[in-house]
Amino acid sequence: MATHAPARDPLAGTGAAGVRRESREWLWSLLAGVAILAAIALVPLSGDDAALSLWTLIVMFCVLAQGWNFIGGYAGYAAFGNVVFFGIGAEAVALTLLNGGPFWLGLLLGTLAAGLFAFLLGLPVLRLRGHYFAIATLGIAEALGELVAAKAIGGPGGEVSLTPPDLDFHIANTLFFYGFLALSLLTLLGTAWLARSRFGVALVAIRENEEAAEALGIPTFWYKVGAFVLSALPTALAGGLYAYWFLSLQPTGEGGVFDVGYSVSMVLMTFLGGAGTIVGPLIGGIIIEYLVQTTTVAFGDIHGQLLGALIILVTIFLPQGLIRLVRELTVSPAGVKLSYTRRFTEGVRRVQRFIASNGI
């Protein structure tokens, strides 16, 4: 087992009727995801522009986390450079628009380019594991960002300023919002499909034990490449939408389209919600980005400290994410019918045991 070996999972439900429970959980997850997105879809009705742009950002981060979930959550590979696909998508739209091309073409080119890049990059780096995979992907993202800056792609220092779409800005912003929302829904459906497909089973097997997966006939390498490409596509589309929505792009530095901060957010959000779950990244994305934006406003210049402390608490006390916590607190052990209170206390005990098992 390599360094990315997954957690032992004593949390694990020893629940009865596994298949039925599993499919019920699948359905509930999907429904919950759709319901959440449907609720968010009502935001423009408030007529509050700040809320609209806040939720545009939140949904964008949800898409990024959902995209990361394919490679990081399902396949278990710590991709710290996924922002590179975001950057490629954004740069493609920026360059297309700067050269007078239509927006959809930029989106298309960006998505294709990111998919191709993920494929070609995956060939060498998906042979690496654990921390080495993480640093290699991170290195690629940093290198590409610096390259765009140094080669002044799109403008001096790689900085781009785009002309806004020829629409009333309220309408344009609403359209971008629904664009991100549609993308998030698509990614949600894609994740739900994945969770039930051979592809998904293969990725989970790879995450849980790559050597055993290979020995059982899973072409692990190609499935990993597939997961990497899959995670690149929504990420690049989000980057493309972001470019035309935000209009001012820089390649590096905070908020730059190749800023590793995006990668960190993807990991953090997926992690909090539940990596390798259908709706986890969505929930994690909403909670984290909402907190980030609102603590910025509420706590001024100490929001960094607060966020740091929050991350520390979450990683120690919620190391499996919210979705798994919900699962643990609601299932009853194999074949036994228990009251809800009993189930809950049993679940708490399992969670405690799991937290304890992470330490020494």
Binding site: S161, Q250, T295, V297, L313, F317, V348, Q352
Partner: protein, 444 residues
């Protein structure tokens, strides 16, 4: 430690590990975790409530004008961002102390509503939108830096709220035909020019110059303007090089620069970038024994910590400055003169004002004069008044061209002499002679 509520005190693994495991699996009651389950949502809820509360709290009372300002208090621009906010706040306090802004018979108190954008332009726009639509600010003061200004000005335009900024000088900011953006600072093309002019005005001016710059758009724009100016003024550019922004090691650049003047060190080294790069340039020039006759940096020398960081090695270094405490303008504003501003700033913040602080204060002055002139707080009327503004302040003349840039006010060249910032150019505001040539490291 805030990170650890009481839940965890019992699990310090001081005993042998199997014992801990047993302890954790059986003996420990779920009380700790239950408490956490209750506490965490509670904490989150109160946090959210706090946010809701604060965003509603900034509303305008009838006699208050609210100025919204997204500034960088954390992250890579926090240093300059803090000076920016200090300038805004000093202006607001001073105005309020002197009776506020007068529109007709009404006096308006000034309130600054500012949020930290963590040096992230995306956050900056989010905050700008929030300031406009939720906090209902009357006017906008600019963020720090070119990228954030570029992003925020679009939003100002969308909501037709005038934004006066003092910390984004790139040409691109004013190239968008955006009628709602005004910059009180001299444009990027002036940054290096003033230092080169100062050098060329010397009795025996330097003949060669090496220009190095960070590769962000503002620094590149400044460097290109410097090269063009040098080329047309018989100053030979022996080395022209970009390096990655925020580089921590510039030895390769300096080693190549050292011999670029047909084997020797060029007379002048001109850096266009950020303060940390300027400091690294000086430190490594010393380590590599590069003794030029003149050093100049667009950003850095005017900031107080440039001197404290470099100590004696900061002496003789030139800097370009939007403003210095020595400028001799007799302003009609609440500060009046530069020395007065300097004194008030030092009294409040206990540190010398940087030009970033002064230009930020000047953005407020621009608004103040425009509002009083317009006799109205209607954004469009104030915008028109801003466009036609021509007023003298402690900071210099505030007058905007059609694009919103301030092309009237000259920049100044400062030099650090014996650990103090003095103004050496242009001569009408200079309070000291430019000392030249710079002695070798170690005897400064």
């Amino acid at each position: 430690m805030a990170a650890h509520p009481g839940t965890s005190s019992s699990s310090f693994p001081v005993t042998s590990a199997p014992a801990v495991l047993a302890h954790a699996t059986h003996a420990r009651a779920p009380r700790g975790l239950l408490r956490l389950c209750v506490l965490l949502p509670l904490a989150l809820a109160s946090l959210l409530a706090a946010c809701g509360g604060s965003s509603g709290g900034g509303g305008t009372s009838s006699n208050t004008l609210v100025f919204g300002a997204p500034v960088s208090l954390t992250g890579s621009l926090s240093h300059e961002g803090t000076d920016t906010l200090n300038g805004y706040k000093l202006w607001a306090e001073t105005v309020n102390a002197k009776g506020g802004i007068k529109v007709g018979n009404t006096s308006y108190q000034v309130q600054i509503k500012s949020f930290d954008d963590a040096s992230n332009p995306t956050t900056s726009t989010q905050l700008t939108r929030q300031l406009i639509t939720q906090d209902k600010v009357n006017f906008l003061l600019g963020p720090y830096g070119t990228t954030a200004t570029l992003a925020d000005e679009t939003i100002a335009q969308q909501y037709k709220i005038p934004m006066v900024e003092g910390n984004g000088a790139a040409h691109s900011i004013f190239a968008k035909s955006n009628p709602y953006i005004f910059g009180v600072l001299s444009p990027a093309s002036e940054y290096a020019k003033t230092m080169l002019q100062a050098a060329l005005a010397l009795p025996t001016p330097p003949k060669t110059v090496a220009i190095i710059s960070a590769n962000d758009s503002f620094s590149v724009e400044v460097a290109n303007a410097a090269k063009a100016f040098a080329d047309s003024n018989n100053l030979k550019v022996t080395y022209f090089q970009q390096y990655p922004a925020n580089a921590t090691d510039l030895t390769t650049v300096l080693t190549a620069l050292k011999t670029s003047n047909s084997g020797g060190v060029p007379d002048m080294i001109l850096g266009s970038g950020h303060e940390n790069e300027a400091i690294v340039t000086m430190k490594q020039a010393k380590q590599l024994g590069i003794n030029a006759k003149l050093y100049g940096f667009t950003v850095g020398p005017a900031l107080p910590d440039f001197i404290t960081t470099l100590g004696g090695d900061s002496n003789f270094v030139l800097g370009s400055s939007q403003w210095t405490p020595q400028v001799k303008y007799q302003g009609q504003d609440v500060f009046g003169t530069a020395p007065n501003f300097e004194q008030m700033y030092k009294a409040k913040y206990n540190v010398e004002p940087s030009y970033q602080a002064a230009e930020s204060a000047a953005t407020g002055l621009a608004f103040q004069f425009a509002i009083e002139k317009a006799g109205s707080i209607a954004p469009d009327k104030v915008r028109d008044a801003l466009a036609n503004l021509d007023v003298m302040t402690f900071y210099g003349e505030l007058k905007f061209d059609a694009s919103g840039a301030n092309v009237t006010k000259p920049m100044a060249t400062i030099q650090i002499q014996s650990g103090q910032v003095v103004t050496v150019f242009p001569s009408d505001i200079a309070n000291a002679q430019l000392k030249y040539p710079t002695p070798a490291f170690g005897s400064r």
